[in-house]
């Protein structure tokens, strides 16, 4: 049975290997350049934090989107390998050949699904290893490995994505019995679930930490933390703020008048506003996921996708076992 899987996929495995090798070549070439730039910045700044913060970003333009290949690979794997796995056999009626040999349908499915899930995990793992390495200097410079977009393309989560996308393709193909609709389901389902999880669910894996600090003082989240919200807390309640525009309406009138107003020539000093706010009982706050939770979050997210994949594969087995061939 394994030989049949090998015979069926050896061509595609070769193509996938070539594509992965090409991607690796690009990522490595670019990654070494970034690493050397980062190294010279480190030497130039010699441990001066302010100097580091003044540096231009290490990457910009289209190159900064390079890590998203870790999301592309799982989607492609699910669409091109997962969707046809059962569906194309049914379409071409080759299932009648396979299922007329002396092996049960369950064994056929187990071996095929097993190897392909393994292949998906390998592809996801390989591409994630490359993008994680490539992102190293950027993580270090901007302390942002935990931020959405970077968290998703590094570490072990791409393995979970790939396994899930593969399982989704297999199940959709089994239900629809046709490859094309299954491909559409993978595309829509994978993008949709990723949006829901990364935008709404992920921040709740563990209760976020909130830190308060004196207004006017600066707050820097320790290490590569993921800051979910920042702002000020007054007697009237919490104001999540990204700038004065958000904060201004909530301030007491006496403090508002102290603010410098652009265009009117009215001058003022921010430190006066800060002391006014402090006098009225305002505090600064930041809600964040500490950097120590990076790997637990990676584990939780990978676990969610792998569990969903397992549930989908379970559905596939039930359908293939129960349905007439």
């Amino acid at each position: 049975m394994t030989w049949l899987v090998w015979r069926q996929y050896r061509g595609q495995a070769a193509i996938a290997s070539v594509l992965l090798a090409a991607a690796a070549a690009v990522i490595l070439a670019d990654g070494f350049q970034i690493a050397s730039r980062w190294h010279s910045i480190l030497v130039a700044c010699a441990g001066n934090t302010a100097c580091l913060q003044q540096q231009a970003p290490l990457v910009n333009g289209v190159v900064s989107d390079l890590p998203y290949i870790s999301l592309l690979v799982p989607a492609v794997v699910g669409m091109l390998w997962g969707a046809p796995l059962v569906a194309h056999e049914l379409e071409a009626r080759t299932s009648d050949f396979a299922w007329s040999q002396s092996i049960t349908r369950m064994r056929w499915l187990t071996v095929k699904v097993g190897w392909l899930l393994l292949a998906a995990a390998a592809c996801g793992g390989a591409i994630a290893a490359l993008t994680t390495w490539w992102s190293g200097p950027i993580n270090a410079m901007s302390a942002s490995a935990f931020a959405p977009g970077q968290f998703d393309t590094q570490g072990i989560v791409p393995i979970g994505y790939a396994v899930f996308a593969m399982a989704l393709g297999i199940t959709a193909g089994t239900v629809a019995r046709r490859t094309l609709p299954a491909i559409a389901v993978v595309l829509g389902g994978f993008i949709g679930l990723r949006l829901v999880i990364s935008d709404f669910l992920r921040q709740h894996y563990m209760a976020a930490v909130t830190t308060y600090y004196s207004v006017g003082g600066s707050f820097t989240a320790p290490g590569q933390s993921w800051v979910l919200a920042q702002g000020a807390v007054g007697p009237a309640g919490v104001v999540v703020a990204t700038g004065w525009g958000d904060l201004y309406p909530a301030l007491p009138a006496s403090c508002q008048t102290l603010l410098p107003t652009a265009g009117t020539g009215k001058s003022g000093s921010l430190s006066a506003v800060f002391s006014c706010m402090r006098a009225h009982g305002w505090r600064g706050f930041a809600t964040y996921q500490p950097s120590s939770r990076y790997w637990p979050f990676q584990g939780i997210e990978t676990g969610i996708y792998v569990l969903l994949a397992a549930a989908l594969i379970g559905v596939t087995f039930v359908i293939v076992r129960g349905r007439d061939a």
Binding site: R7, Q8, R93, D96, W99, S100, Q101, S102, I103, D324
Partner: protein, 300 residues
Amino acid sequence: MSTAIETHELSKRYRRVSALTECTVTVPEGRVSALVGPNGAGKTTLLRILAGLASPTGGTAAVLGGAPRQDPAFLAEIGFLAQEIPLYRRFTAEDHIRIGAHMNPRWDASLVRTRLAELRIPLGQRVGTLSGGQRAQVALALTLAKRPRVLLLDEPVAALDPLARRKFLATLTAGVADAGGELTVVLSSHLVTDLERVCDHIILLAGSRVQLSGDIDTLLAEHKVLVGPRKDTAPIERTHKVVQEVATARQSTLLVRLGGPVIDPAYQAEDVTLEELVLAYMGADEASAGKRLTTVGESS
């Protein structure tokens, strides 16, 4: 002689459509049975149930003493070739031989190689590029290489030209001879003429029901065509079963299943051919709706 296939009131419904209704048949071991019937009669459904690829919604089926099931030991005994000649089009015959070797306990690779060499079918060419007849030959040889004890073939010659049909049936006959009476075959077709040379048993399905089944020689001996004046058939029906009646203004031709000797001297009894028998019973499906009598020419 033991029984290879036995079904009892086997039924299969797909939502509101009955594909097979209370089908009860027996095929003794070693027979080559023609499964005949018009398109949509339930032939494919019956074969797929016997092969363990579909499950019945009613009744029972036994193949080699047990219900068709997902069990390697059972599947090893069954050779099934579906109507669409399913092969991996991008694989060569040689690839298929190797797949078979990995997936079957008693695989006779030399049988396939020998047979395909005789037919001059290249082993190293993608099967998708072979002709329909060659592809069918490859598929049949692969099915025989499994060394099954029950071979189920679903309209394998339907898409083939007459020469390819003959070659295919020759391969089948050779396979049956090799097995020395231990191989039971059920071969479906909507054309009885394809099967007459190779089969010694028949199952006739029409309208999802079994209309006739048994050994062909026995059935031919049991039926006669009676030609005589057109008159009331009630006396005949007291002893015999009239399967079909074709009448002109004066003359009447009855196909009857004999219940005893024909004593009415007005009728002349003639032997029946398999094709006549099959056509009569296929018509009998409609006769159950009250159309047994076919009138030819002017009726008075």
